[in-house]
Subunit: 132 residues, 2 copies
């Protein structure tokens, strides 16, 4: 097994204006919390809150492109959103191999997204399979 429990992977992602616009164009979610500065402020936020599922797109990149092997497929994932992400926020992403299931060729990672103020903005787990 190429993956060992405790191994860490680290990446940096930026939720740029371009990434958010592209996400909105792809999926059509123009909810005012994400697109209307004034609405977001009346709800107690510093500005437009970025779509949480942009982070799930980054997870796709991590699994598909950030691992040492390409023969991978996602079986399941879960994410908790802990603090808001704002436009142009730079996020540190760390994933740790939390479990390895040799017999079924499956690997579990725990991950955390942290902003530059060192606040956890999201955390969760993702389980992948290694394709024969």
């Amino acid at each position: 097994m190429i993956f060992k429990t405790g191994e860490k992977y680290n990446l940096t992602f930026v939720v740029s204006e371009a990434v958010q616009q592209s996400f909105v164009q792809t999926f059509g979610d123009k909810n005012p919390l994400h697109t209307d500065e004034v609405f977001a402020r009346t709800k107690g936020f510093k500005g437009k809150v970025m779509h949480g599922n942009i982070l799930n797109g980054f997870l796709s990149y991590f699994i598909g492109e950030g691992l040492p092997v390409k023969n991978v497929i996602i079986h399941s994932q879960e994410i908790q959103f802990k603090n808001p992400v704002y436009v142009e926020d730079e996020l540190d992403f760390t994933a740790t191999v939390s479990d390895v299931f040799e017999s079924v060729k499956s690997v579990e990672f725990k991950f955390v997204f942290t902003n530059t103020a060192l606040k956890t903005v999201a955390k969760g787990k993702i389980q992948i399979g290694l394709l024969a």
Copy 2:
């Protein structure tokens, strides 16, 4: 509380070539399982397997645009991928209000994505908060 346990929401999503290309451009995940027909076939699939996180983009649309209120934010979500989704697959999406937490203004939905062959391709849970 506007949401009642047992209420159902239904939408249809198509994982079109355009949606997938746009997802790849946004997040950069060009893993061969998703982009290389021959690679995907050697791994036992009928063709290129669509990124699972495209379905999470559809979930974003459902929460942000498909509910009767706009003052919503996602707290957490989880998804299990049960069967492959191929390009141009039309997916039936059904979400059911599975729990309502009046005191903390939070609502949980269980959801299922089903393809036209009536196979469950993904299922999971999503918890949202209602913003004051």
